[in-house]
Amino acid sequence: MSKDVLIAARDLSVHFPLRGLGFGERPVVRACEGINIEIEKGSFFGLVGESGSGKTTLGRAMLKAAPISHGEVVFSDDEVTYDLGSLQGPELKDYRKRAQLIFQDPYAALSPRMTVRDIIAEPLEVMGLTSSREETDAKVREIAAKCRLNLEHLRRFPHAFSGGQRQRISIARALVSDPKFIVADESVAALDVSIQADVLNLLNSIQRESGITFLFISHDLSVIAHTCDFVAVMYLGQIVEAAPTDKLFSETSHPYTKALLSAIPSLDPDVRGHAQRLEGEIPSPINPPPGCRFNTRCPHAQERCRQEVPEWREMSSGHHVACHFSEELA
């Protein structure tokens, strides 16, 4: 693997078999299909798409928390190289320390009877990363300070906190094991805009100071645009376009990315209704459309799109797209 890639998915598929109705084949949810992405060390990698497109599943597969049905996910930092598909035992335990998830809401995910200190300390204790209570407390205080939580906060229970503070607790918990890789799944989706900016700035500054690599998942393209240096756009289990952020916005190539962009309501009251509307809704991943999966909603779909799966092609350096006609449509 190239030296500066931290984690890569190659031809990755994640399938969830559903309970069958007796005879015949069991239906399968094809949540991720044939995914190729490389996340560079120290990058802030954004993953965007409508709900149901498979973002959470892809993030979980990269944390080895979803089944890898086909293909591989390889993690490689300065110390170890792991093929996640076959990872188990002590190596899997070690990986759990290196790769962390930021919960959307620690209050929903954790016991309301735990103090903020206990919530942040739990990963240290479960993984046996510290040898004394003093060491644990010192580590918790250090990380809490980074996330602007003071000693008084640490003694309280999370229900007493606002949405922004809870998110900072979540971030502290993810940071405490000194991970190399963090998946932040819809970390600001539930926050008010006035608070959201604060959490985004905190994540960006942690990334700059610590060099931790982030996979930042969001359904909001404007949030992604302001936070991430690289963006992958997902539709119905597949990545349809990926590029450095500035390129994705200046040389948008895939019709789905274009549609997502134009659906964002403009802040200018004098620019109304010029959006290129996307018809219909995302189809079911149990029976995805043949050929290009976007063909049922794409304004440019042609016969070829219903027959032939578009190739994952490099348009220019670092800019990939999966559409038969991206040159013609540019």
Partner: protein, 335 residues
Amino acid sequence: MTSPLISVKDLTLRFKTDEGLVTAVNNVSFDIAPGEVLGLVGESGSGKSVTAKSLMMLNAENSVYDDNSKITLNVDDREFDVLSLKRAQDQMIIRGGAISMIFQEPMASFAPAITIGDQMVEQLLIHSDMTAAQAKEVSIEMLTRVGIPEPAQRFGQYAFEFSGGMRQRAMIAMALSTKPRLLIADEPTTALDVTIQAQVIELMKDLVEEFHMSILFITHDLGVIAQTADRVAVMYLGNLVETGTVRQVINSPAHPYTRGLLNSLPKLDDLEAPLTPVPGDIPSPLDRPSGCVFHTRCVESDAIAERCRNEIPLTTIDSANHQVACHLAKQGDQA
């Protein structure tokens, strides 16, 4: 000037709770003209939903309105003093008659065990003198109008059989079938993907024009406001801090809170612009700040901090009908 469809004057609403009386809406006044879309914007907990529910007397049992709160509805040359409608029969004029409401979570509008069609028909039978057959015809027409494919089949289905976007459309169809004069839309697109949100906004715009109704459009999303509203009211901790046309409020915001909201938004046309949060957190409604309610988070009050802490700013209004409640606002007339 024609009289407003609905006029809210000095609305103050408190809730009795174990921890004491909580002020959720404080001295709020606004009008909505016939055919006008008023956007009500503010962070969660600012009092948008309870303000909207007041218009239909839908607030919980523990709510208390101040004596001088007044809501006046003008329909068909008749004037209704909404807060004094005590009899169920009088309240019917409002609920699902002159005013309909749609919500963020469409399941809240539908009874789970009754088909979408039966619920639509029932509403129409209450609020009009249609026969059951006519009501069914009108319902299917409405489902068609909001873009639901195979409306005749869908008529016989339950809400859980609809996708999220389709449910939203069905809720709009039901709310509009009685031809209300005012539609209250409480975060109708917040739970939807942007692509579906764009479809629903388009649909709502078409319908306002077609039915010539007014909308109170509640959202925390200023982009959605910019795309839908004629006028905008900005709410913070139960107070209206700024009211004006959508261009006044978005292009030349007069209140520091409105400016703060706009600065914290990630903008697609300027990816390099830093995101500036409004500092601090929204105070608990149990602990309302003295003076200006926004003073604990205001970054513009430095020179007059003392005054902001102690003195409640009056609402001033300029010649273009732009209203703002801030000590820094240019002296204009008092609203």
